[in-house]
């Protein structure tokens, strides 16, 4: 065994990491540097920073990764140091706490009891009357809780009531909880994912698009099942503020519809550990156009946005380029028309009106019959197996905090010493927290014993 007389002789690195000075320094540094990411907008592209801040500041932003401050190398280093410091301080304190915890507070002398903060002494000028002592002990027990006793060599007895000794561990629970929260966050980010899904009504998908700031690359995350949006609703208050966003979703696993649920902003759907949150929506126009040939043959094409619709027999392909929901009271659409030769044309159509066009040398007539808006729901997709670890840590944090500040280690002693002249009664008490309340309780016991002694006389 190495000698552990003082920590000054130890490894200087250990000394550095066990110092509370470092903890206070890190707390202050974390508080100050955390401001940066609230002032500089996060998650923009490098170009935006260059334009907004100029080349000199841009260099610093790029070097210190200030576009993603809270995941930058130096911020994570600070958090790592903070965790290390927390672990070292805790370990360093452990022997001291163990000593406090293991110490048996009944192993004391009457002299010690005469130095305790709260104390009161009675001298009874008669030998100890056992029924009187029993009565006093009954009062003591009623107020202080169960008693232990120890006989001293001279025949006197020390009775002790103790509570809340375990509260010394609250501090460890509290600090461990912070590490548990960190662990949960790390575990979640390693094993889970965050993504998004845009779904038209009626559409389904079996993958999500990974959310990654600062990157334009699209990465697909397979879900292992399919999700379909059956309908999307949006409702507004009279004031124009949104009232409800709702998606009716169906989960399809192995060709079977396994779950159906309507999700709201605060009411997501979870399936196989993957949770779908209502996060946004878009309204997508859909236009139906009737095309008629010179011979009188006609076909109605329903053209959704972002898609092309063909009439193969006529060699025509139509697309929706632009949609205005209200032009002088009617919807208007700019329609793209391509023919087999590869030539394309574009024209504006209004609902209920028609226009003549030429494609591949032949004349056609195009008429917009109707325009409808279809909704596309935006879902946030998340899998985070670490979230329960985080909640465990949070619970521990609050419980630990309450223990550290409000559960006191209380010790109360009653010394009964019988000498030649009579009996000495010595009541002493000590609490490491909430001393005012303890003093009150102590005085209550004191007056209860006073009463018993008074009656006995």
């Amino acid at each position: 065994m190495k000698k552990k007389k003082s920590s000054s002789g130890r490894n200087p690195l250990w000394k550095f990491f066990t110092s509370v000075r470092l903890a206070i320094f890190l707390l202050i540094i974390l508080a100050v540097t955390s401001i940066i990411g609230t002032v500089i907008p996060q998650g923009e592209t490098l170009q935006v920073y260059l334009n907004n801040y100029g080349p000199a500041v841009f260099k610093a932003i790029k070097l210190l990764d200030l576009g993603d401050t809270y995941h930058s190398w130096w911020y994570l280093t600070l958090l790592g140091l903070f965790s290390l410091n927390l672990i070292c301080c805790t370990l360093n304190r452990l022997p001291f706490t163990l000593k406090l915890f293991k110490r048996d507070y009944i192993d004391i002398t009457p002299d010690y009891l005469r130095r305790v903060t709260n104390r009161y002494e009675w001298q009874i000028n008669s030998p100890a009357d056992s029924s009187l002592i029993q009565q006093i002990l009954k009062k003591f027990r009623a107020s202080a809780g169960s008693l232990r006793e120890k006989k001293l060599d001279d025949g006197s007895v020390i009775y002790m009531a103790e509570s809340g000794k375990w509260s010394y561990w609250g501090l460890y629970g509290l600090h461990l909880s912070i590490l548990i929260i960190f662990a949960g966050a790390v575990y979640g980010s390693l094993t889970g994912f965050k993504g998004r899904i845009m779904l038209m009504e009626g559409e389904s998908t079996d993958y999500a698009i990974k959310s990654s700031p600062n990157s334009e690359k699209i990465e697909k995350i397979p879900l292992g099942f399919s999700i379909r949006c059956d309908r999307f609703f949006v409702d507004f208050y009279d004031t124009g503020a949104p009232k409800e966003f709702r998606s009716d979703l169906t989960i399809i696993d192995g060709d079977k519809e396994v779950v159906k649920k309507s999700i709201l902003v605060n009411d997501p759907l979870t399936y196989k550990g993957v949770t779908f949150y209502q996060s946004s929506y878009q309204s997508i126009p859909e236009v139906s156009v009737r095309v008629t040939t010179a011979e009188g043959a006609s076909r109605t094409l329903v053209i959704p946005a972002f898609q092309r619709v063909s009439w193969p027999e006529a060699g025509l392909t139509l697309g929706l380029m632009k949609f205005l929901p209200n032009v002088h009271g009617v919807p208007a659409a700019r329609i793209w028309i391509g023919d087999v030769t590869g030539r394309a044309d574009a024209l504006w159509l209004f609902r209920g009106s028609s226009k003549n066009i030429t494609a591949a040398g032949k004349p056609y007539r195009a008429e917009m019959l109707d325009a409808a808006e279809r909704y596309m729901t935006g879902l946030q997709v998340k899998k985070d197996p670490g979230v329960w670890i985080v909640w465990l840590g949070c619970t521990g944090l609050i419980a630990g905090f309450a223990i550290v500040f409000w559960v006191a280690h209380r010790r109360q002693w009653l010394y009964v010493g019988s000498g030649d002249k009579g009996t000495t009664l010595l009541l002493s008490g000590q609490s490491n927290k909430n001393k005012l309340q303890f003093e009150k309780d102590f005085n209550e016991i004191k007056s209860a014993i006073d009463n018993v002694i008074g009656e006995g006389k």
Binding site: P242, V265, S279, V387, L397, F401
Partner: protein, 283 residues
């Protein structure tokens, strides 16, 4: 309808103004009776405000919106004033030191005055947008504001500590010496910070649980979240410095004031100067 919530809450503003003035008079001229009257008036203000907040809740149902009055800047300011007065009155009842009132009630008065008279603050009852339609709203706002209000009172005590002159044994006759002793103030300030810190922690956690339910992330480093964490760091510093390094008095008083500046920034600065998920608070 004259007996409406906005009528009662406007009256509350003036009651708190009167109470703050009386507490000041009580301190400056050391008239015991005035302090007693100030306490009565503050309690009356609290009762009036409680009815006002309750009525506003009822009125929101009559409008067909039906939500607790904790949803926008106006309502949060009113609630902040309410909790501040409540926390102060509990401290006064426990310590019997009315001088603290001169440093605590002004926070409530200012919050109410800002809520009532600033053109930036709309006092209309607004419906809840989908993101706010959650029971976590009540838990989150109540816990956060218990923290904020305690920190306001602790800040007042910090100011008192720095103003208190001479040493504790000097009973003194001057204005500065009529404040509670350094020892008492230091202890009270510490206890109030501990209380506030617990509620701030619970507030941050309930916010995280709610965010996880609404958006799928319990922590997204949005400016409001980050500033609440900065505030948490400041008070954590104060607690550790006191516990382990034995900091007391002046340094803790300064930290208490710095901490409250951080609270103010978390509360207003983020809404008006920065953007983020909590920006609805500015409407």
């Amino acid at each position: 309808m004259t007996f409406s919530s906005s009528y009662l809450l406007s009256i509350t503003t003036f009651i708190y103004l009167g109470a703050a003035a009386l507490y000041l008079i009580h301190w400056v001229f050391r008239v015991e009776k005035v302090g007693f009257i100030a306490s009565i008036i503050t309690a009356a203000g609290l009762a009036c405000q409680t009815v006002g907040i309750g009525l506003r809740w009822v009125e929101s149902y009559q409008l067909g919106y039906g939500h607790a009055p904790l949803s926008n800047l106006y309502e949060s300011l009113v609630f902040f004033a309410w909790v501040t007065v409540l926390v102060y009155l509990i401290i006064e009842w426990k310590t019997k030191k009315r001088v603290i009132g001169a440093f605590a009630t002004p926070f409530a008065t200012l919050a109410m005055a800002y809520a009532s008279f600033s053109p930036e603050v709309q006092d209309k009852i607004q419906p809840l947008i989908p993101a706010l339609q959650s029971n976590w709203l009540i838990a989150h706002v109540i816990t956060c504001f218990l923290g904020y209000a305690s920190f306001a009172v602790a800040c007042g005590m910090g100011v008192m500590y720095l103003m208190r002159g001479g040493d504790d044994s000097d009973p003194g006759t001057g204005l500065r010496n009529s404040l509670p002793s350094h020892k008492v103030l230091d202890d009270l300030m510490h206890q109030t910070i501990v209380f506030g810190f617990l509620w701030l922690s619970v507030g941050i956690i309930t916010g995280a649980v709610w965010a996880n339910q609404a958006w799928g992330t319990y922590w997204s480093w949005d400016p409001k979240e980050t500033w609440s964490l900065i505030t948490w760091f400041v008070y954590a510093t104060a607690l550790h410095a006191r516990f382990v390094r034995g900091w007391q008095g002046k340094r803790i008083a300064f930290l208490s004031i710095i901490g409250f500046v951080s609270v103010i920034f978390t509360y207003f600065g983020v809404n008006f100067l920065l953007s983020g998920l909590h920006s609805y608070g500015s409407s």
